[in-house]
Symmetry: C2
């Protein structure tokens, strides 16, 4: 099999890559990186990703990697960023499965702005909330209510802008589902299992959009396989 | 004139956009946003960028905006992120000026990974050093030596990976100068005016690369006009 994803089951960046492959109806091999055994810091993995963070990606002779931004110290072995990989999948397999990008240069530029909003605004606030509200309790660590309040306020600001955007456009990137929506899936899924769900429920367009993208067959396949 | 850039003279994101326009040999109108007068928080500018951060960009009927990632609290009115704008310029004006992207899908994917390294690794460490070493002294604010030491260590890690990459590839993105290099220009230029220059000087391939990209006519034109 030509395509391989080296990652971790719960990693949001790994999930993004797998969701894109599922939308494109592509077969691939998932290689679980044993992070407890520090496999991601050994030479074989470092040759795939010099930063030693999952996921890494292979398509024949092409090797790509995701990475963790320096803002996310807590989870420094998990990549957050995997947009180069999903964009490669969307471009290289443009004729397979569902379209995830737009050919028109101007429309694609607008889609790119909304991918950046996800990466720079939605994801940083969202992933901090996931740590506080999902992972810290699971790991027996205390919840920092000040961090929760700060990031609820940031997420509210972003969701207000999404509510306006989604009242004018069916999806964030334009008329159809694209990478700009797909990149949100892992964090939206985690957040809706927390008290932060109220921020989505309070915004009808955001709430309908979240329900719709989470019910896509490719996402259901990704999270249940 | 069809293309307009709404920004601030010293903003790194504004400089990136102007550098891309100069490489493409495109004429544009630069509109200085009076941030002291909070012009970027007024309705006219908010209609261009709902986050109220510079730069914004216009090409005929197309409007794009940059944004500030939530990790950079100090400078919340300045966008750091402007890659959607530079990528639009590179794609929409592919036949003008110097090539900044690569047509081959696999080579373009590798270029995209290095754009992400800049955005997620180089820029966060680099911009914190610029604040501590350039702007705080200028503003009469104290320098936090712990922040300096932490980000020097991060920048060193990134530059080690660059040194290896640049020993195998003339430029970060591939054989030719591309957006992956161009996006570094503003931060590299600022850093070389500080004590952090030693981190560049200690790495021969990084040092040669930095000298070369800073001496490109389009960059000189951008910083002197």
């Amino acid at each position: 099999m030509a395509i391989k994803v080296f990652g971790a089951q719960l990693s949001t960046a790994t999930l993004r890559v797998r969701a894109a492959l599922a939308e494109k109806d592509l077969d691939y091999e998932f290689v679980n990186v044993d992070m407890a055994a520090k496999e991601h810091k050994k030479p074989e993995f470092l040759s795939r990703n010099p930063f030693g963070q999952v996921p890494a990606f292979e398509d024949g002779d092409l090797k790509l990697f995701g990475m963790n931004p320096y803002r996310c110290e807590m989870i420094s072995d998990f990549a957050i960023e995997s947009r180069a990989i999903t964009q490669y999948i969307a471009h290289a397999y443009a004729d397979k499965g569902n379209d995830l990008i737009i050919k028109d240069t101007k429309k694609m530029a607008i889609l790119s702005v909304w991918m950046e909003v996800e990466s720079q605004k939605f994801e940083p606030a969202g992933s901090k909330l996931i740590y506080q509200l999902c992972l810290n309790p699971m790991w027996g660590l205390p919840v920092d209510e000040a961090v929760v309040a700060e990031n609820e306020a940031k997420l509210s600001e972003v969701l207000d802008i999404y509510e306006k955007r989604l009242s004018e456009s069916k999806y964030l990137g334009g008329d159809g589902f694209t990478l700009a929506d797909l990149h949100h899936l892992p964090v939206v899924k985690y957040l809706l299992g927390t008290k932060v769900k109220k921020l989505f429920d309070a915004r009808p367009h955001v709430s309908a959009w979240a329900s719709e993208i989470l019910s896509r067959p490719a996402w259901i396949k990704t999270t249940t396989s």
